[in-house]
């Protein structure tokens, strides 16, 4: 615990925003995934989100859906996700976060999942289909030494945002737009206002913005209202178009956009 928070503080203290990069575990293949992940961190990502593939990813757009299906076809399951995590953890101190839908975790056994994740050096967990309503019954009541990151959206009202802030640890994941994950053009005034409003309600946690962040321009637009950004679909898309080297370049460029 605290590792994610401290990392964000450290990066912010250099007058930079945090860049967190999402990769689907075992995509495009299992063999080179650890190398890809390390390359992304070396290119400037401050944190890594490792996506657990799921057959029915409701909150995801076409790019991540496809990567998820390929990963499943590649034979990726939680055992492989933990193996990747362990290997990555051996090579880096940066925060590692697992992101995935509830069912694979539920089937694996929630307690077993949490303890294996900690053993592999995972620092945080994002499960988008466990909102506040299911949080208490999903997680065991005993102490969990893993940050659990909750999401806010433009539809969450003031009270919900406050409650999300109080339950969340590590950071609050602020979903910038109404919609699924995926590349968009620029943010509208309404969306930026909503970010500003969310930011003003979050007191306990740092706030990272995700969904629709794909360019330096996007990052500059949201930077004044957050502590960092999360990039997923744009990275996966680049991976499809121009492979690992293309992704490393993109990460470098995006990180340059995070400098104040």
């Amino acid at each position: 615990m605290l590792k994610i928070f401290q990392k964000i503080e450290e990066v912010n203290s250099r007058n930079e925003k945090v860049l967190s990069v999402f990769l689907t575990a075992g995509y495009p293949d299992k063999e080179n995934f650890v190398e890809l992940a390390m390359g992304v961190l070396d290119a400037g990502a401050d944190m890594l989100e490792i996506g657990i593939p799921f057959s029915d990813p409701l909150a995801d757009g076409a790019v991540i859906q496809k990567s998820s299906h390929v990963a499943i076809e590649n034979g990726v399951n939680l055992d492989s996700v933990f193996e990747f995590s362990r290997l990555i953890r051996e090579k880096t101190d940066k925060p590692l976060i697992l992101m995935g839908y509830a069912n694979p975790v539920f089937r694996y056994g929630i307690k077993r999942f949490l303890s294996d994740a900690v053993d592999c050096g995972i620092d945080g967990l994002i499960i988008p289909d466990i909102p506040l309503e299911e949080y208490d019954s999903f997680y065991p009541s005993d102490e969990i030494s893993l940050d659990r990151i909750l999401l806010t959206t433009p539809q969450s009202g003031e009270e919900r945002i406050k409650e999300i802030d109080s339950k969340s640890s590590g950071f609050v994941y602020c979903v910038s737009v109404s919609g699924t994950t995926g590349v968009r053009n620029s943010f509208t005034d309404t969306e930026i206002k909503s970010l500003q409003n969310t930011r003003s309600l979050i007191k306990k946690n740092k706030m990272l913005v995700g969904f629709g962040i794909s360019t330096v321009e996007n990052i500059r637009q949201v930077s004044p209202f957050c502590d960092g950004v999360i990039v997923g679909s744009a990275v996966i898309k680049k991976l499809d178009e121009s492979g690992n080297l293309g992704v490393f370049d993109l990460v470098k460029t995006l990180k340059s956009g995070c400098h104040g």
């Binding site: 409701l58 019954s137 109404s178």
Partner: protein, 403 residues
Amino acid sequence: MFNIIEYDQPDRNGKFGIYGGRYVPEILVPALRELEELYSEVKKDPKFRVEFQNLQQKYNCRPTPLSYAERLSKHFGTGKIYLKREDLNHTGAHKINNVLGQVLMAQKLGKTRIIAETGAGQHGVAVATACAKFGLKCVVYMGEVDIARQAPNVFRTKLLGAEVVPVVSGSRTLKDATNEAIRDWVTNVKDTHYIIGSVVGPHPYPMIVRDFQSVIGVETKEQIIKEEGRLPDVIVACVGGGSNAMGIFHPFINDEGVRLIGVEAAGLGLASGKHCASLTLGRAGIFQGMMSYLLQDDDGQVSEVHSISAGLDYPGSGPEHSYLKDIDRCEYFSVTDEQALEATSLLARLEGIIPALETAHALAYLNFLMPTTTKDQIVVVNVSGRGDKDLGTIVEYLRDLST
């Protein structure tokens, strides 16, 4: 015209025992809360009740008859079989019961755009129908596989002015159509109401759809008492998501003497792995906003399933069915594609009713049930829909069989 009885599920969190709940992305929670609040208001509102009843009687044609199936009963010779004629609803299936209620609610929420998923196309047609009547924009998500096998319903939906969006992801059937509808809702939740077609999805949907469909069971109870002076011994209904079954079962849940039997699709056989028998062979899982019995692999990935019937071709089922199975109040069995097809022609020849392939699963179960009943027993089968939409599939199947 919906009925609230003393059986008190779900709880305040939308759970039926451990099942149900609201396993959805944060963005949908405020809309689900809003829907829940509105529903608790309209449930008590006599004006809403009258409005809904008027629609059911004057636009739809409720009450639907409960018909004694004389020749079918004689065929088995071991009891009296009654058919609850939901096939006689406007648009040809029970789906419209729920749709009319939800469209009234959507109007009260001020939503101008309606989205829906559909498998067999009956729900899509019903939603397109109600949207035409109330002047609402309508988008129906349908898997490519289902678009091909339920072509007449695709034409009907378009003729009614709705847009049909083909879904090409995953198995290109009902499950994937539901995923896409949810993704649309995530994006357009501000002006859009999602009319789920079955007792599935996040709370409050399983409860709302059940209550709107429970008119089937309420009428059945009155009608059978009028005909026979007593309650039936067994009620049989097919289960995909399970809305027609929940609708007829619900008013009988406290009547312990009435056996409630849900029939799932065994597809090419339970051993083949190509089936949809989630209550028979599934395990608890979290999927499309709910916890329920789910066909999945050991890694928690949702299985690819199969049924000749597009409306049953779904890897999960409603959370309340999962609960009723666990507490042993309902029993669940399954029949194969072939058995369902045989039952289709049996009912056509003996009673002059061509049932939907979904319904045919319930009818096929009579082959297993009737040898165990006695002459004085009463069995009700819910005829959830008519079979016109399936003629293409049936013709193709019979042709394959003869070559």
